[in-house]
Subunit: 180 residues, 2 copies
DNA sequence: CTTTGCTTGTACCGATCGGTACAAACAACT
DNA sequence: AGTTGTTTGTACCGATCGGTACAAGCAAAG
């Protein structure tokens, strides 16, 4: 028996691959191995509610695995190191792309403005906070945080474009070295 | 009277906004103010040929305005400076997003693999070439080039997500300073 | 074994998809 | 004005879209 929570990662994969509009119900059915009946049972609000659930799950994951460690690690440098590990694993070493990034670039941004805004804003803020605790002054901490989060997103674009996941991991290492 | 070349920028805008699959013929008609008849007269191959034409136009623009100056400017540093000016203007100071980046992240990548690959590969190679001529050794030139092109793409993502174009221009300035 | 209440596949809805066909409208040239 | 060849809007095609309705299937409770 399948639970609502079990489908969300499969759903995320479909949205990540095709975007919101491209994620047709037939592709969703194929990706989740569930019929329309089940999907509309779990998500009566249709695609909108499915995407909301996916975004909420992503938000929760990053809050637990990335933002919170960045903000509350005893050693700020350790929190930052944990971020890079978590990010490398989350994007499967460059083989997977960022769903929120996809939404941000596309038409989807207008439909999910707040969640897309919040995701990146919180990430940058949490990283800047850690950098400040690690001794940087406010301005450079913010600039470095924007460079790093932006660099991660850009590296995902380049890696996916080239079909070379290693490009992403190389970029991650350089970004980490810059923060040390 | 409208020429084929006149519609391509309008077409580009539609694809940039909605992606390939999201660019329905009705949205294309709305964006170009042309009926289906005219579109299929200019582009008998349908959406595929339209997207090809748009990608070719973008490729040509970057070749002229960015890649070629990077490769053949007498002063390598000047070629790099011209790149940042051209890029800032092309993306309208962060208000427009990169169509090739959109395609790279999405399902579109598989349909336009070569063009998407080529665009970023050529950009990185041209910039690395300029950096080498400016005195960097091969490895750091390539790393810096990847960081810079990736940084630009990532900054576009962040700026669009936040709805703050200035974020893009700030990132551009920092990237330029790093290369000096 | 029967009943109850959720889960699920299937059929169907109007709307829209990408693409084709073609006749009316039009400009260019004699 | 009359002829020719292209440009353009519109009607139409089968397929698929997101969403709804609902009956068959099913497990747990009695």
């Amino acid at each position: 028996m399948v639970e609502r929570g079990d489908v969300i990662p499969l759903l995320a994969e479909v949205f990540r691959t095709y975007g919101y509009e491209g994620a047709s119900l037939s592709r969703i059915s194929e990706g989740t191995k569930l019929g329309k009946g089940s999907m509309y049972n779990f998500f009566p609000g249709g695609k909108d509610e499915m995407a909301d659930a996916v975004l909420a799950e992503i938000d929760g994951w990053f809050r637990d695995q990335v933002f919170q460690p960045l903000r509350s690690a005893d050693d700020a440098a350790e929190g930052i190191a944990r971020m890079f590990v978590a990010v490398g694993r989350y994007f499967e070493s460059g083989r997977k792309v960022c769903l929120v990034g996809v939404f941000a670039l596309g038409h989807e941004r207008d439909r999910f403005t707040l969640k897309v805004q919040g995701y990146f804003a919180e990430w940058v803020a949490a990283l800047a906070d850690a950098l400040e605790r690690a001794g940087r002054d406010v301005d450079t901490a913010l600039a470095l945080a924007e460079d790093t989060v932006g660099g991660i997103q850009g590296a995902l674009v380049l890696a996916r474009a080239a079909g070379e996941p290693e490009l992403f991991m190389r970029a991650l290492e350089r970004l980490q070295r810059r923060l040390a």
